[in-house]
């Protein structure tokens, strides 16, 4: 399988002038039959199998697949950075006309940064947190002796300007933690561009970002492509791939199972794995219950509140946090909503909008500064914890990242046992009681004695749900429960949550920044911005006919089909580019 670009790209061995226009079809990297193996002997892992690719200036090749499919390993192997335990073999590996199979460490260093740049996932850790971004951006120029160390200032400013960072003079002195996610990612891209490479290897470049910031970074990458930089886009997000790539290669268990022009592969997939991957994309998945709220008919059996009082009532909740110099930031500002048994309520907004603070108020982990939270008809906030503890089992949390929410040294049996202990299950019965919980979430007794690190991401999230169900709760608060998961696993977990909410008559407060996920599982949605609920209503109405400009902006930022529908249907005539540029300036100062 070869993701071949336009044929006949003459390899250019001449030394480049940065001003010289690049031929559109210059082949930068050609690899055939690449294998990467880790370790040796019987424990050997064959991470990448017989992959062939061609990267060309000005074109974007996407590698898609689930985590563990070998995408990132392939990207690193192309830079000669697969790691000390890796064995890389290939029939052919040409970088800029030179045979990279014969490269020594010194030859690789001349290629890294200069011919192939790398942009990784999270700029907060991918940039050295102890150094100002200006020095990080200058480093490739100095390493490749393009500019003397003391003369890098103007070049750094020009690069920051090119990637759309406002006020470059001052920003160059900032540290990564002082910048917003979007600006950090721009700085990382600038540092990858500093030595003018022909191709950028971008490994999940927008995965850590909010939808609207993601859209702006994708626009920047599109601009770089138009300027003649080739891109290898590694992503699990098909919507991102669709927005940017010219060609796509689908990876599964180390092999490329399907490759071709992006429009063709995404609309007429041949390989069953590609079909499964496409079906799993939120928004493409068929909605299980397009009608009323999921599980509503059966909810009457689950709780007496179904047609009586709502289970959860939040009225006028306000929460401030003190910030530096006696000032305070309002994280939740006069929020009111209700949630009934059997209902799944979505809460959507960007990071920093106050979603998690609101979850903390509902869970009784934070006390509101004013307003009230009532649970099952009784006051919940403003009660002493000693009194409230007896009722805590009625509401449970499903966290975003169960790996860090579990004690890594505990087995699944012990994790569930602790939750069962909270509802006074005697110690000898805990193990037997844990088993039906696991079966309820689709796991077996084989998982009881495993530790979280020995489970896959989807299995861990299932255990997290089982732990939440152990206390027989009536309300689940799910805080970004599927954001850390691959699309296909995401689909399974969402189906599980939907089924459980229906059969148990659970009320679910489902927090997510992902609109497609919200649309799939929720009946009603709250849109949150800067601590306020700016829009609320049935999910279909909000998605097809958003009233608030912020909701429209969120929807238009979604790459792929939903976003297109929103852009085509409801967004006013102003072009998306223009508006994102304006919000960009207010993104962070």
């Amino acid at each position: 399988m070869t993701a071949t670009a336009e044929p006949g790209g003459a390899t250019r061995a001449d030394t480049r002038d940065s001003d010289e226009p690049r031929p559109a079809s210059a082949v930068v990297l050609e690899v055939a039959g690449l294998d990467v193996r880790f370790g040796s002997g019987p424990g050997q892992v064959h991470a990448v199998r017989d992959v062939s690719l061609t990267l060309t200036a000005g074109r974007c090749v996407a590698l898609v697949g689930e985590s563990g499919s070998g995408k990132s390993t392939l990207g690193r192997a192309l830079l000669g950075l697969a790691g000390p335990n890796a064995t890389v073999t290939a029939r052919r590996l040409h970088i800029h006309g030179a045979d990279a199979l014969a490269f020594g460490p010194r030859d690789w260093r001349t290629v890294r940064g200069r011919r192939l740049g790398l942009v990784s996932q999270d700029a907060l850790v991918a940039l050295d947190p102890l150094r100002p971004i200006g020095r990080e951006i200058a480093e490739p120029m100095v390493a490749h002796r393009l500019v003397a160390r003391r003369d890098t200032g103007s070049a750094v400013r020009a690069l920051l300007e090119r990637v759309g960072v406002p006020d470059p003079e001052q920003r160059a002195r900032s540290y990564p933690h002082q910048l917003s996610g979007g600006l950090r990612q721009r700085a990382l891209i600038a540092s990858a561009l500093a030595a003018q490479p022909d191709v950028l290897i971008t490994d999940e470049p927008t995965t850590a970002l909010d939808a609207s910031v993601q859209a702006r970074i994708l626009a920047l990458l599109g601009q770089l492509k138009a300027d003649g930089t080739g891109l290898l886009l590694i992503s699990h997000d098909l919507a991102v791939v669709e927005a940017l790539a010219d060609e796509v290669a689908v990876m599964h268990e180390g092999s490329v199972v399907e490759a071709g022009p992006v429009a063709e592969v995404l609309t007429h997939p041949h390989h069953p794995y590609t079909v499964a991957l496409l079906d799993a994309v939120p928004g493409r998945r068929p909605r299980a219950s397009a009608g009323g709220p999921p599980g509503a008919p059966r909810a009457a059996g689950g709780g007496a509140d179904a047609d009586g009082d709502p289970l959860l009532v939040v009225t006028g909740a306000v929460k401030h946090f003190p910030v530096a110099r006696g000032a305070r930031r309002t994280a939740v500002d006069d929020v009111s909503f209700t949630l009934r048994a059997g209902e799944t309520l979505g809460l959507v907004g960007e990071s920093g909008s106050g979603k998690s603070t609101l979850a903390g108020l509902v869970l009784g982990l934070l006390a509101p500064d004013s307003g009230e939270v009532r649970l099952a008809g009784r006051p919940w906030s403003r009660r002493p914890e000693r009194e409230r503890r007896a009722e805590r089992h009625t509401l449970q949390l499903v966290p975003q990242d169960p790996l860090s929410a579990f004690d890594p040294r505990w087995t699944v049996a012990r994790i569930l046992g602790e939750a069962l202990a909270a509802v006074d299950v005697p110690r000898p019965d805990r193990r037997t009681d844990a088993l039906p919980l696991l079966e309820q979430v689709g796991l077996t007794d084989a998982h009881l004695d495993r530790r979280p690190s020995a489970l896959s991401g989807g299995q861990r999230q299932r255990v997290a749900i089982a732990r939440a169900l152990a206390t027989r709760p009536r309300l689940l608060v799910c805080d970004e429960p599927v954001s850390a998961l691959d699309v296909s696993t995401q689909a399974q977990i969402l189906a599980l949550l939907r089924e459980l909410a229906g059969s148990l008559g659970l009320a679910v407060l489902f927090i997510s920044h992902d609109l497609a996920v919200i649309r799939e599982i929720c009946a009603r949605v709250l849109v949150m911005k800067d601590g306020r609920i700016v829009e609320t209503g049935p999910v279909e109405r909000v998605f097809t006919d958003p009233h608030h400009p912020y909701t429209r902006e969120l929807l238009s930022a979604v790459p792929g089909e939903i976003g297109r529908a929103a852009r085509a249907g409801t967004v006013p005539s102003r072009p998306a580019e223009e508006r994102t540029e304006m919000t960009e300036m207010t993104e962070k100062n």
């Binding site: 940064g113 192939l116 790398l118 947190p129 102890l130 002082q178």
Partner: protein, 316 residues
């Protein structure tokens, strides 16, 4: 302006409490040593009559209740009067300042040796090949588990008695400093190396190291410019232990090598029950600890910009 002063005031108050605690503990400990302090002043076989003993008792306020003696002692310390040595017929201040420089010299050279040696060994041995690291780990373990006095005697036997390269005791020759510095610095270097290496290996796994390598940086630049600075953060935390080892080690090293210094004076004073000198040394050590802790807090902010005030992220 007020916001800037508050942490400084808190810091100073904390320092006073630490010094007070150290002084109180040493005062209490010295009271537990059995025997009459007058004996310490006049010596054991001096022919001193009971009247004169009574006179001395009055002059040194030993007849006062313990609490009054303690309050008196604190009052004198607070005004900077450390009193006079019972034995040496000098003020404690003079005794300490006379002996301070040899100890400071020893401690500074030992710190320098420890830091340079540990950084060099860390950078050189945490490579991809395993043997240098294993050998270095073994040597570190040996050095750490060897008591300082034993290490000193061992070095003396080999380098002074057998090989005759270095002098046995202090002769004023700079060469006489070599063995004491090695004895004091080597165990510190061994522990620092272990901590630095652990930090360096963790840092070398971090995503920003991949970014740095992908820029075409040579391996030694990746280590010295990126990873090493991250590995110093856990090592900085050890500084309190570091200072304690230097002070405690100085006592042993100065005695083994018969060098002048505060450590030797302190040991002598304890065995002679020369309370004012012991108290003076304890107070001095406490002050050194407090000053070093303040400097280290500053260093944290120098090394890690995320800890600096007013550089935090203002908005999301």
């Amino acid at each position: 302006m007020r916001a800037a002063i508050r942490p400084v005031v808190a810091r100073l108050l904390g320092a006073v409490v630490v010094v007070w605690g150290a002084v109180t503990c040493s005062f209490g400990a010295l009271q537990l040593i059995p025997g009459d302090p007058v004996n310490a002043i006049v010596g054991t076989n001096a022919l001193v009559g009971p009247e004169q003993r009574e006179l001395l008792r009055e002059r040194y306020h030993f007849d006062q209740p313990l609490f009054i003696q303690y309050a008196d002692h604190l009052g004198r310390l607070a005004t900077g009067r450390l009193g006079d040595s019972y034995q040496l017929q000098q003020s404690v201040w003079t005794v300490i300042t006379n002996q301070l420089w040899p100890t400071v010299e020893l401690a500074l050279w030992a710190s320098l040796l420890a830091v340079v040696l540990s950084v060099a060994v860390t950078v050189l041995t945490s490579g991809r090949s395993r043997w240098p690291r294993r050998i270095s780990s073994l040597v570190e373990l040996l050095v750490v588990s060897t008591p300082a006095f034993w290490l000193g005697i061992l070095l003396l036997t080999v380098f002074s008695f057998h090989l005759g390269w270095l002098p046995v005791s202090d002769t004023g020759d700079p060469r006489s400093l070599v063995l004491p510095v090695v004895t004091l610095g080597l165990p510190i270097a061994a522990i620092l190396t272990q901590v630095l290496r652990e930090g360096l290996l963790t840092a070398l796994d971090a995503p920003f190291v991949l970014t740095a390598r992908a820029r075409g940086l040579a391996e030694h630049s990746v280590r010295s410019r990126h990873a090493l600075r991250h590995s110093t953060l856990p090592a900085l935390t050890l500084t309190g232990w570091f200072v304690g080892t230097l002070l405690g080690g100085a006592v042993i090293v100065e005695n083994v090598f018969a060098r002048p210094g505060v450590g030797r004076v302190a040991l002598q004073a304890v065995s002679d029950r020369d309370f004012p000198v012991v108290q003076g040394v304890v107070a001095l050590s406490a002050v050194v600890f407090v000053v070093v802790a303040a400097v280290v807090d500053g260093l944290y902010a120098v090394v890690d910009p995320r800890l600096r005030r007013r550089t935090g992220m203002v908005a999301a």
